[in-house]
Amino acid sequence: MNHSPSDNSSMPLASRKIFVSLDTTARSRGSDKVAIQVKNILNSQPELAATLVRNGSRGMFWLEPLLEINTPKGRVAYGPVKPEDINDIINLQCFDDAVKHPLCLGLTEELPWFKSQQRLTFARVGIIDPIDIDDYINHGGFVGLSNAFAKTAQQLVDEVKESGLRGRGGAAFPTGIKWQTVLNEPEQQKYIVCNADEGDSGTFADRMLMEGDPLVLVEGMIIAGLSVGADQGYIYLRSEYPQAHDILNKAISNAKAAGYLGNNICGTEHSFHLEVRLGAGAYICGEETSLLESLEGKRGLVRAKPPLPAIEGLFGQPTVVNNVISLASVPYILSHGGASYRDFGMGRSRGTLPIQLAGNIAQGGLVELAFGISLNELLQQYGNGCKSKRAMRSVQVGGPLGAYLPADQWDTALDYEEFASIGAVLGHGGIVVFDDTVDMAAQARFAMEFCEVESCGKCTPCRIGAVRGVEVIDKIISNESDEKQRQDSVNLLHDLCDTMEFGSLCAMGGMTPFPVRSALKYFPDDFLPQPLTEKAQ
């Protein structure tokens, strides 16, 4: 070994690190095989004296598996790498500077796609070892919590109000106001419930955060507990996320061992206990009252509101239910101040939104930006058009209950009110792109079918409406219907949508008409009888 820690031309041995992501999507692209190869090389060449870190993902998924190597200038990225590339990249010089290699991308943080983002909530995702408490602390972790210990519950709630944070789970309700309601309830058993059901197709921000920086969620939940007087938290995680489950459990166990969870956390008089509970593949259990029923061990039937969960929630006790990203944004607010968070954004949409680019998109991944960027900029500058290299035709924003938008709506700014004004929703920030081969009548039919499969069954407009919806759309697109029958069916579909929208107990039935009606309104030709040969399957 000829590199001593004092050798100033190279990295100190202790910081010779090689990063390969353990994120689900990175793994789906082969990052485990790359990690095995890196391990093999490090074992067979001990003079390299480097460690392999399995980090979260930076969110540039088309570049995964991304290999990053620490150098004095910053982390140098190579990607997408295959196991057979690694031998040519890892050598003693790679810790000093970028290695000349066709897959070398330069400094990760200078990549324009990454550099132009405003990563507040995702500040550490893809950077740290997700379950390493020291790594978390070295990157600004637990600063928010230690500030929180010095404040009263009311001051904490005021700070969150000041930030302007609105719930990122879809409904965009002001988080501070929700917390105030729970704080105002007399002292008793209260709960913090994290909604990690992330059921919306086209979304994966919660998953990436839980896999890449679970401790920021833990910290956010502890602060929420201090803010409202709750000493028990649950993370309700969907069973479709086995990797997030594993990482969360490890992070929680490390946080416990380090004194951040349990009784008298960090030597204070406060206690906070935290547990992960698994869902079981029901989309409706993302709806907060259905989620609470499920946590209590029942079928996930939606509860009528009032009472609000803030007043009578889990086991009848006052409960904060917040989305993963809402809770994970709180440590930033407490470490940098509510006003600092509020400085990002536009109108009444304050702070940043982790946007997910999905579907038929060349550069899919996670972009965290202040509210206000237009859909077009995201689709072109970040997404770089369709993966199929065909023309982009339709975009669904906000999950399966969100509207489909045609090209002439893509100048809309990402802002809750702007989206509402065009009859659309931002939801959890997922954007699903379709190229010109899409059959929008099939998409509308699927929206009804999905509602039929996932309805909790409590109210008729949703349970029966969805079944009828599929039938009526089939009649509209059937080649056997004449023009009059078709027109009658279209009218019937509108009536049905009205009934579902106004007569449903929750947004499952209430918003299924959004994708259906937008498809019909913006892409009417797709609902005309198609020549049999062209009919998509």
């Binding site: 793994r27 197709s201 086209g202 919660d206 593949g281 989309y283 996930g300 680019l357 399966p400």
Partner: protein, 163 residues
């Protein structure tokens, strides 16, 4: 619903004992049983009902509400195909038809050789690399028929372990 043998019942009794004092113990118990036995056997129901002080019908109601829980023994490999919109945008409709044909089964069915059970799933959070499927705890993306067949072949030959 299928029943389990004496050994299975013993495992179930242990799981119930370990979990029954948890607040809202039903789902953790059901998950643990399915994890260990690959399904929830019919003769588990009276045991769960008794331990949680609810009716057997209630336990049945919970199991049937959730798509994840199953009451029949599945094939060696459970293949879950994502039906979400992002995967549709990348050709999952054709893919699911091909997979059904190549395995000669529909959703919720198990192949004759008891190797594969096919289930639909609505989003695996892998939407930046659609279409996606899940086999066991592994999630595969950017799938086409060829890649699917490679994965099937590899299932039967080796499994990758990272130490």
């Amino acid at each position: 619903m299928t029943a389990t043998n004496e050994q299975g019942l013993q495992q179930i009794a242990t799981i119930i004992e370990q979990n029954q004092t948890l607040p809202g113990a039903m789902l953790p118990i059901l998950h643990a049983i399915q994890n260990d036995l690959s399904f929830i056997p019919s003769n588990a129901l009276p045991l769960i009902a008794k331990a949680l002080n609810v009716s057997k019908a209630e336990v049945h109601g919970v199991i049937s509400f959730y798509h994840h829980f199953r009451t029949k023994e599945p094939g060696t490999h459970v293949i879950e195909i994502c039906r979400g919109e992002s995967c549709q945008a990348m050709g999952s409709r054709a893919l699911e038809e091909n997979i059904k044909q190549s395995l000669s089964i529909d959703y919720h069915q198990t192949s004759k050789d008891r190797q594969y059970t096919l289930e639909p799933v609505y989003c695996l959070g892998n939407c930046a690399c659609s279409p996606a499927i899940r086999i066991g705890n592994d999630i595969h993306g950017e799938l086409d028929q060829q890649k699917f067949e490679q994965i099937l072949a590899s299932l039967n030959t080796y499994s990758l372990e990272l130490t």
